[in-house]
Structure formats: structure tokens, C-alpha cells
């Protein structure tokens, strides 16, 4: 359908899209000659692959179970929000919380098992969110199977094939998230010398012994990219339309189990953090470590820098998304190009930007990190403005009644989009505040982020202070979630 001329995508909108992919192109160009050397780290690559694959299976299984409990238990938005609360706690904080909780029971969580447990608990809500809409349409199939005597294991023949595309696509996204996750392996893997590619790249980049740290890290990044590639190519098509009705009878027991799990997963992470941050481990006395944590110069600086970066990233992206919103095709194209930066492991973007901008004055300044954040978080910010309310009809109504293009957007389109813009702002603010992958690779000396500060505190044995900062981050994420949850028009 041909729209009126002012509503068409900007023709120059395509030009910068190619430039957005430059970091990856440079990474590929610089990484390929050194790929042979990186293959010496094949055991770490294999470790990354296996951990991500096993982790994906665990996350999917738990997510599917939760989705089934929610569907049959009639779980509403309130309980769902409780589950998502644990997802909004940054993964490395979850890892830290689990570490402290299990430590109090005499279990050491370091190593592969710990990484898998932290990933499973942290990412299960993501799998749940991806799979619950896919489960709804299965209900009519299951009902028909039951009525026609297909029960027991035979039900899988009815259920699995329609579910498979959703499982594959959710699995692909979870796999990419795990493969690229830096925080959990940094907290739980590094102390036990269990490496994955993102942590090895970080170690190489910071190694004083390496003759070519950036080149070696680039080759590892490329290897990581190759492991990510199959999941990127996975684009299964859903077989089923959304269902109009769910199961007629709700089972309150299922809702109760769902609630118990949500509380348990939150509690497992929170308990350890609270215990570590609030009580003296030797005397057991109540001695909150917040003051001590906030007295650490790195933490203060980190909180300030992270708050500034998160505020700048969230504001700039929300404004940019709003500016592009009247041109939906331009917004969609920009978002599609930027999807790659968000979906692929952050390590790749960080290394690509390092290679691309190392010769420029931008390198080793906080602005490089801001650029990385903008590129990394643009996709979810744009998506938040793309989806949701369709304001085009309302703006068209305003134009038909005499309001010029921009006035129609200012008076009608933008006011209606405010809740979406607010949602995008808080989402990006929360993600950027506790970001750790990009910042641990790109921070400028003196401009460390709070994530880097927590890692530093952990490495320096300041567990109580690290736990206190982790709690502050979790609380801020929770507040952002509350702001996100506010309803629009």
C-alpha cells in the first residue's frame, strides 16, 4: 500500500545501517588470520559449546515446565511478575547470590555445575516468556487427543511437532544468551579456572604476557561468533495460531507450585546476598556492609559512571526511537540491523569496537563504552517503540482533521506513545546499569562501571561489599521493573 509521501521511510535511513555492522566486519577481517592460533584454545571452545548446550536444555526444560504450570494453573500477571523479578536481577548478581547461599550450607558452587545452576535459575523466566504463548494453542490439540483416546506417552505425537518450532526458536535465543554470558562464568568459573570463550577473551585482553592481546582476543571472539552462527540461522516458522481459549478448569495446585518456584528462585539468590551483606560471617551479628561498600572508591566511581551511562543510553535511545517512530519502516530496518549487536555475544561487539577504534582518540574514554551501549541496547529500545500500541490510525485521524504531519505526531502520536517510551527507558536503564560484558572489556581506566567494581571486589576478597552492591543493583532493577509494569492508555 502506497502511503502518503510524508509517511515514507527516509531514503537516507539505509546509509548508516551498513556502518553499524563495521565492528563485526573488522573483527572478522582481523580474527581470520589469527584463527589458527585461537584453535589452541579448542578445549575452551568445546567447554563453551557444551556448557551453552547443556544449559540451554536445562533452561528450556524448566521454562517449559513453568509455562505448563502457568497455563493449567491459570497464573496471572502478578505471579508472572514475581517470576520475572529474578530475571531482572543481573545474571552475575544471581551467580553471586547462589554462591553465597550454597556456601552457607557448606557447598562450593565454583565450576561448571555452579555456572549451569546459575544460568538455569536466571534464564528459566526467559524461556518461560518465550514458550508460554506457544503452549496456549496446544490446548485444543490436547483436548482433541484426550477426547479421542490419545493419552499417555502417545500424546507427545500430538504435542511435540507443533511445539518444536517454538522450542527451537526459544532454544536458539537462550543458547545465544548463555554462549555470550560473561558475568556468571566470571564470578563462578574464573576462581576455579573454568574458562569459556568470553572469559578467556577477557583474560587474554588483560594478560601482561601476551604479545598481541587484541589480536588473540579477536580470534577468540571470531571463534565465539562461529559457535553462535548456527543459532542465528535458526528461523523456524510457528505452526499454530494463537488460541482463543485455555483449559476450562484451572488447577490451583499448579499455580501454587509456580508461585513456590518463583519465590524459591528469588530466595536462593537473595538469601545469600542478604546474609553476606547484612551479617558478620564470623560473629553472626547484624553488621550491614553497605556503608563499607559505599566507602570503596571503585564502587562509588562505578555506581556514578554506570548511572551516567545508563541514563545517557536510555535517554538517547528513547529519544532516537521516538524520532524514528513516525517512519515505521526506517525504525524497523534500523532495529533489524541492530538486532545483531544485541543477539550476538557482547564480547564480539566489544572486541570489534576495540579493533575499529583503537587508533582513534575515542579509545580508552568513557565515550567508547557509551557507543557500545548505544549499539548493544538500541534493538530492544526500538522494539519497545515498534510493538505495542498502533498509533498510525490515530495520527491519520489527526491529519485528516487538519493537523500537519509533525503537529499530529506531537499532539496525538507521541502522547500516546509515552508509556512505550517510558517502558523503553526503564528497560534500557536497568539493563545498562548492571551491564558487565561490554564494560569489563571496554572500560576506560578511571571510568569503571559498577559491574567491574563488583568483579574487582570479588577478586579482592571483599565478598560482603560485593554482596551489598549486588543487592543495590537488584533493588534498582526491581524498581525499574515496577516502572516498566505501569499501564499505558
Amino acid at each position: 500500500m502506497k502511503r502518503v509521501a510524508r509517511g515514507e521511510p527516509l531514503p537516507w535511513g539505509l546509509l548508516p545501517l551498513g556502518a553499524l555492522l563495521l565492528p563485526f566486519l573488522v573483527l572478522v577481517a582481523q580474527g581470520i588470520p589469527r584463527l589458527g592460533g585461537a584453535l589452541a584454545a579448542w578445549d575452551v571452545a568445546l567447554n563453551s559449546l557444551l556448557l551453552a548446550l547443556v544449559g540451554t536444555l536445562l533452561v528450556l526444560a524448566l521454562g517449559l515446565l513453568l509455562a505448563a504450570l502457568a497455563l493449567w494453573g491459570g497464573v496471572g500477571r502478578g505471579l508472572e511478575a514475581l517470576l520475572f523479578l529474578s530475571f531482572y536481577i543481573p545474571p552475575f548478581v544471581t551467580g553471586m547470590g547462589l554462591l553465597f547461599t550454597l556456601q552457607s550450607f557448606g557447598v562450593a558452587l565454583y565450576g561448571a555445575k555452579g555456572i549451569l545452576l546459575a544460568w538455569t535459575l536466571h534464564y528459566a523466566p526467559m524461556a518461560y516468556a518465550l514458550l508460554r504463548p506457544a503452549l496456549g494453542p496446544l490446548w485444543p490439540l490436547l483436548r482433541a487427543a484426550r477426547v479421542h483416546g490419545v493419552v499417555g506417552v502417545r500424546r507427545l505425537r500430538v504435542l511435540l511437532p507443533p511445539l518444536l518450532p517454538s522450542l527451537l526458536s526459544a532454544g536458539g535465543l537462550v543458547y545465544l544468551a548463555l554462549l555470550g554470558n560473561f558475568g556468571v562464568p566470571a564470578v563462578l568459573g574464573l576462581p576455579a579456572r573454568v574458562y569459556v570463550l568470553p572469559t578467556l577473551a577477557y583474560a587474554r585482553l588483560n594478560s601482561p604476557l601476551s604479545p598481541d592481546p587484541i589480536g588473540e582476543a579477536a580470534a577468540l571472539g571470531l571463534l565465539l561468533g562461529l559457535l553462535a552462527l548456527p543459532a542465528l540461522l535458526l528461523r523456524p516458522r510457528p505452526l499454530l495460531e494463537a488460541a482463543s481459549e485455555g483449559p476450562p478448569s484451572r488447577k490451583p495446585l499448579y499455580a501454587l507450585l509456580f508461585a513456590l518456584y518463583a519465590l524459591l528462585s528469588l530466595g536462593l539468590a537473595a538469601w545469600g546476598l542478604l546474609r553476606e551483606a547484612l551479617f558478620n560471617p564470623y560473629t553472626g551479628a547484624l553488621e550491614p556492609a553497605f556503608a563499607a561498600a559505599l566507602a570503596l572508591p571503585l564502587v562509588v566511581k562505578g555506581l556514578g559512571n554506570s548511572a551516567f551511562l545508563a541514563l545517557a543510553t536510555a535517554s538517547l535511545l528513547a529519544l532516537l526511537a521516538l524520532a524514528l517512530r513516525p517512519f515505521p519502516q526506517a525504525l524497523a530496518r534500523a532495529r533489524q540491523a541492530l538486532d545483531l549487536h544485541h543477539t550476538l555475544p557482547g564480547t564480539l561487539l566489544a572486541l570489534g569496537l576495540t579493533l575499529l577504534l583503537a587508533p582513534t582518540p575515542l579509545y580508552a574514554t568513557p565515550w567508547l563504552l557509551l557507543l557500545a551501549y548505544l549499539l548493544n541496547f538500541a534493538s530492544p529500545a526500538f522494539r519497545a517503540l515498534e510493538a505495542g500500541l498502533r498509533v498510525e490510525a490515530q495520527v491519520a485521524a489527526a491529519r485528516v482533521h487538519g493537523l500537519p504531519f509533525w503537529r499530529a505526531w506531537l499532539r496525538v502520536g507521541y502522547p500516546l506513545l509515552l508509556p512505550q517510551a517510558r517502558g523503553a527507558f526503564f528497560l534500557i536503564f536497568s539493563l545498562a546499569l548492571s551491564e558487565i560484558t561490554l564494560s569489563s572489556l571496554l572500560y576506560a581506566p578511571g571510568a569503571e562501571t559498577v559491574g567491574v567494581a563488583v568483579l574487582g571486589a570479588l577478586n579482592g576478597g571483599l565478598y560482603r561489599e560485593a554482596a551489598a552492591v549486588g543487592l543495590i543493583l537488584a533493588a534498582l532493577s526491581g524498581l525499574a521493573l515496577l516502572a516498566l509494569g505501569r499501564r499505558g492508555w
Binding site: M1, R3, V400, G402, L403, F405, R411, V412, W489
Partner: protein, 315 residues
């Protein structure tokens, strides 16, 4: 006032082509009647400037507006989904679109459409009928050269619909507004239109006074568009008559199969030599009747009307 000259547009989604020539004089309410997919809404969107034609011209008030953006066409639109702005009050809807915003004038207009005292409410705080009135008041506040209405009453319950549409017609006539009103409801077309245009497959088949189109349609599509239609095959032709066009006393044998009462009107399903038909006659099931069809007409199977002077006597 409205002149569409050789207007051509491929339907969104590639479902056919709209080709229309039309003139609507100042102050006339023209109702476009047709099934869904006939191109009615596309035609309104072309007039509003929400779609651009592939060929042809749109004149409003003598001015060629074909390439003008919607906001410069001086039209107003009551959308099927109303398209109200959820963040604005009823009064703000009017003030925003008025060429010269004037609070007292807007309040008076709200009063005229029956929204007195509700000016501070947002759409979410109004009933279906009240929202409809806000959409209408917004449209009138614009002082449009032409008012476009796209099935504006389809979401209302029948009682509210019936009252409101007569009210709106009276208002439009009082204000002297030229209006293009789209509907698929023949009763609404008959009730509201000074003239009715029958649309099918992207063409405007016939335009004329509703009574004339109802009683003497020139095409099968126009005959069917108004409903209450019997269509019986006779070789290469189709015998067509409306329920009330069958009268007792002719030579056509008919046996009553069923008797129904619909809105105070008795209808009977009868078996004729050509097949089954509905007629507006009160007779018990099983009764044998003799009918005449003095106003029936024949169409060729391709849809065009056949001249048949012998028809009335024959049946």
C-alpha cells in the same frame, strides 16, 4: 462539491482494482452500499488522502486535491473504529481540530450532538454511543468540505444505532454538510442517503435515489445489494423479485412451506414452479395460492437487466 474523475487504485493486498467516476453536489448525503471488499473504504481513504490513487483526480469544492496530504484537504472522517484519541477529553478533541479553536463554539457543538456535560471525559470514560458522538462532533468541528463516514454505526447495538443514525442525518442536513457514507446495510442506505451508490468489485455500478435503485435496479448486483431478493433460474435468465413484489391473484401456482414473522411483517416461504422463494404474504403452511409478479424483472446470468415487456403478464 466532490468530484472523482477516473480514480484508479489497486486494492491494498492486491485484491482487485478500484475504478470510480462520481459527482456529489453540495449538501448531499451519498451512501455507498456494498459488500465487504467492494472498495467502499478504499474510496473514502482516497478522498481523505490516506491513500494516493494510481490514476485519476479528486476534486473537493472545485479544487484539485489529488496530491495534497490529508491535512490540507478540508475533510473530516468518522472512522469505523472511530479513531478517537484516548488521552484527550471530548472537548480537547474538538479544540484540536477546529480551524480557529473556540471553547464556547466547541461546547455548543458538543451540546448539539448530545454530549452536554461530558466535555471533560476521555473516550475510556464514555459509552459506545457517546464515543460515536465525540467522533461526529470532532468531524463537524473541523468544518469540512466533505464528511466521510465509514460504517460509523456498525459497533453499536441495534436500538442505539437506529436512533442515532436518524439523529445524525437530521444534523447533517441542518448543517448542510456534504457527506460520503459507507455501509453494507441496505436499510441504512435507504434511510440515510439522498442518493445511494451501489459498489461491487471496485466499481460504482449505479448511483441514484434509494427508492429508484430498490425498485428498478439496472444490474443484478444492485438488485442483490438491497437484499429482500428472490432469484430463480429460468434457462439462461434469472427471474428476480423482492418479497413484497409477489401479490395474490395471478396465474403462478405457489404452495406455502413455512410462515415466519419478522419485525411485525409476515413472510412466507413458498414453492413456485421455478423454485423456492420468500414472499410478504400471510398464509398457513400447506396452503395453495395463485400469485402474480407484476414488478418482477429478468437478468441475464452475466448480470445485465433484460428488457421483457411480456414478463408481467406471463407470470
Amino acid at each position: 462539491m466532490v468530484r472523482l474523475q477516473g480514480l484508479t487504485k489497486r486494492f491494498p493486498g492486491g485484491g482487485g482494482v478500484l475504478e470510480v467516476d462520481l459527482e456529489v453536489p453540495q449538501g448531499e448525503v451519498l451512501v455507498l452500499l456494498g459488500a465487504s471488499g467492494s472498495g467502499k473504504s478504499t474510496l473514502l481513504n482516497l478522498v481523505a488522502g490516506l491513500l494516493l490513487p494510481e490514476a485519476g483526480r479528486v476534486f473537493l469544492g472545485g479544487r484539485d486535491v489529488t496530491r495534497l496530504p490529508p491535512e490540507r484537504r478540508e475533510v473530516a472522517y468518522v472512522f469505523q473504529d472511530l479513531g478517537l484519541w484516548p488521552h484527550l477529553t471530548a472537548l480537547e478533541h474538538l479544540l484540536l481540530v477546529m480551524p480557529r479553536p473556540h471553547r464556547a463554539e466547541a461546547m455548543a457543538l458538543l451540546e448539539r450532538v448530545g454530549l452536554g456535560g461530558l466535555e471533560g471525559r476521555r473516550p475510556g470514560e464514555l459509552s459506545g454511543g457517546q464515543r460515536q458522538r465525540v467522533a461526529l462532533a470532532r468531524a463537524l468541528a473541523r468544518r469540512p468540505k466533505v464528511l466521510l463516514l465509514d460504517e460509523p454505526y456498525s459497533a453499536l447495538d441495534p436500538v442505539l444505532r437506529e436512533g442515532l443514525r436518524l439523529e445524525v442525518r437530521a444534523l447533517l442536513k441542518r448543517e448542510g454538510v456534504t457527506a460520503l457514507h459507507v455501509t453494507h446495510d441496505p436499510e441504512e442506505a435507504m434511510l440515510l442517503g439522498d442518493r445511494v451508490g451501489v459498489m461491487a468489485g471496485g466499481r460504482l455500478l449505479e448511483v441514484g435515489p434509494p427508492r429508484r435503485l430498490y425498485e428498478a435496479p439496472a444490474s443484478l448486483a444492485a438488485f442483490l445489494a438491497f437484499g429482500r431478493a428472490n432469484l430463480l433460474p429460468e434457462g439462461e435468465t434469472l427471474l428476480a423479485f423482492r418479497y413484497e413484489e409477489a401479490v395474490p391473484g395471478g396465474s403462478l401456482p405457489a404452495r406455502v412451506l413455512e410462515r415466519r414473522e419478522v419485525r411485525g411483517e409476515v413472510l412466507s416461504r413458498v414453492l413456485l414452479p421455478q423454485g423456492e422463494a420468500w414472499v410478504r404474504l400471510d398464509a398457513p403452511p400447506g396452503a395453495e395460492l395463485r400469485l402474480a409478479l407484476p414488478r418482477a424483472r429478468r437478468f441475464h446470468r452475466d448480470g445485465h437487466l433484460l428488457p421483457d415487456p411480456g414478463l408481467k403478464e406471463g407470470v
